[in-house]
Assembly symmetry: C2
Homo-oligomer: 350 residues x 2
């Protein structure tokens, strides 16, 4: 890195690896203040006099100083990083939340460190362990279900933990999300209200997708309570339009006079819609379809898809708000839980 070894001294006592060429010390020298003042200025500009402030600002500009957050994190015993652990960013729901969080956190100069569990509890445990070694300002996890070891590490570490996208179970610190069983209930009630009486839930990967399963359970429960026939048709693969088509075919085999389906998400619903088209089954007359997610294509289908929209971005923004509140000491409450709700969008597929 820095080429500082070729000088006249026959042998230097120690050749140190340097991280950066210009440090806070250099800025302090240039601005004729002490390093502490520079540090203070960087963290709480309002605590420094206007004259010192502008001198420091000029020095930073002149030397193009970039603070070393790693050193800062070590000294402060907490880094300006937030660790977010989601099942997968390929999933549009989580991508939306991650994007919203990152946007909100950036304003507070917090960085997002990302990890994917791929729906594996052991992987999550590992990711949490690594996350902790970064001494993050907060850790964000998906869902309320974690291994015992994960919970133990988190409670021992004294890091604020936020669990997102699920509500209604034992939470570690804060939780932000909604009740997935209520989504299922809303879908069932809606279909029944539309006069449908032979229902099915089309689900992908329900053995791994806890929240999908909750929606399914809510749906089945509500249908049963209303005295309406209901079946669960599922497939172990992850959700896609192809799987949706297959599931609808399977469902029609089991319940030939099927007249309403709820799907674990809009990918499945879209596939079901395409399958109806292929089978010349009129939607919603012969079969009503309700999805989940309100994905990018949902409003543009033929017919437009009735779906339930969660607010993934709101979850992200609220999580960021909580983290920032916690850091600034405003938010004292630990065990908050925020219900971000969901909306049923009644479009023409039902």
């Amino acid at each position: 890195m820095a080429g500082e070894r070729e000088n006249e001294v026959p042998r230097q006592p120690r050749s140190r690896r340097k991280m950066q060429s210009v440090t806070m010390m250099d800025v302090a020298d240039y601005a004729k203040v002490s390093p502490s003042t520079v540090s203070l200025y960087l963290r709480r500009p309002e605590a420094v006099s206007a004259s010192a402030g502008s001198a420091i600002a000029r020095a930073i500009e002149k030397l193009s100083y970039v603070p070393n957050l790693v050193a800062g994190g070590l000294a402060a015993a907490s880094s300006r990083a937030v660790s977010i652990i989601v099942p997968s960013v390929r999933n549009a729901f989580f991508a939306e939340t991650v994007a919203a969080m990152q946007t909100s956190l950036r304003k507070e100069r917090l960085q997002v460190i990302l990890g994917h569990t791929e729906y594996d509890e052991k992987e999550e445990e590992d990711l949490v362990r690594t996350a902790l070694s970064w001494a993050p300002a907060a850790i964000v996890l998906t869902g309320l279900c974690h291994s015992e070891a994960t919970r133990r590490m988190l409670t021992k570490a004294h890091v604020p933990v936020i669990e997102i996208w699920e509500l209604g179970g034992p939470q570690i610190d804060a939780a932000i999300g909604f009740h997935h069983d209520q989504v299922g209930i809303a879908a069932a009630k809606h279909l029944i209200q539309q006069g449908k009486r032979r229902l099915a839930f089309l689900g992908a990967r329900l053995h791994e997708d806890r929240r999908g399963k909750q929606r399914c359970d809510g749906f089945v429960e509500a249908a049963r309570q209303a005295g309406v026939s209901v079946e669960i048709v599922q497939h172990p693969a992850s959700a896609s339009a192809e799987v949706g088509g297959m599931l609808l075919r399977d469902a029609l085999q089991i319940v030939p006079d099927l007249d309403g389906v709820a799907c674990s998400n809009d990918h499945i619903a879209l596939g079901a819609l395409f399958e109806c088209e292929r089978l010349s089954m009129s939607v919603p007359e012969k079969l009503a379809i309700v999805g989940f997610g309100d994905l990018s294509f949902s409003a543009a289908c033929n017919p437009p898809l009735t779906t339930i929209r969660p607010s993934g971005d709101l979850i992200g923004r609220e999580a960021a708000r909580l983290i920032v509140g916690h850091m600034t000491g405003k938010e004292q409450e630990q065990k908050v839980s925020i219900d971000t709700r969901f909306t049923l969008l009644h479009r023409r597929s039902s």
Copy 2:
């Protein structure tokens, strides 16, 4: 945190904030070796004798020691973090790459730090600045176009830089991706081969989406060279099925006897497909449609969508490979460029 202040000394010289309760020192004491040996064991287990190794392993297990990567990063002048800056993770393409990278990097115990530019060059500059203050092992950027300040910072910082998802321009260090103009050319050639002679390119947000624009340009150029009529129809909003429908209507207004369209991505193509359905326009007989991306729904549409598949995951894996190679010193080459190619999937929409 650590409760070490209640001892007999009337007043301690300094109350220090502690990051963690059990440090490498504790492990060393427990295992009866020096801290250096523990550090060595953690970084290169094979350099430590079997007896010392197992003693250390036992100590780590017993004390449930979690190494502090922040301290490690400071001491080593480079952290085990890789900063990835993409326009948006909501975009399925980048989500796929990010996911693949994170999976590959995890095996080498490298963390992903994520940032979104939202297609804003100034934002990118800011993100790069912050990224640098983490002293990452590498920085991954999207595309080859960056502000002058960004380039300056990066070259000055001596960090390996990898630019992804674009090839064919001046690159900083390594670049991994493909030539987008060739995608456009492939789409045009394909449509012409199918006997189509009145073409249009349906594009969303082409003013911001550089790579979409490149595909568009390639398409138009190839069509012109073949002596085939071609129009560009665009919309400033970001890609969605709704915009796709609108664009197709616009296109038909401009070119009533339109017989082939290429779309800036599959969202647009899907919208066009739906619009055809509404207009009772047979696909591919009256109108052939080619998309880009091979998104989750593309194979399941009616008719299945002909599209061009980039390999987003391969880009991610290759990037990870390069980074790891660089860290271990295997990969010496700087200015490599890796062409990950693309595939035209001829399905029934053309």
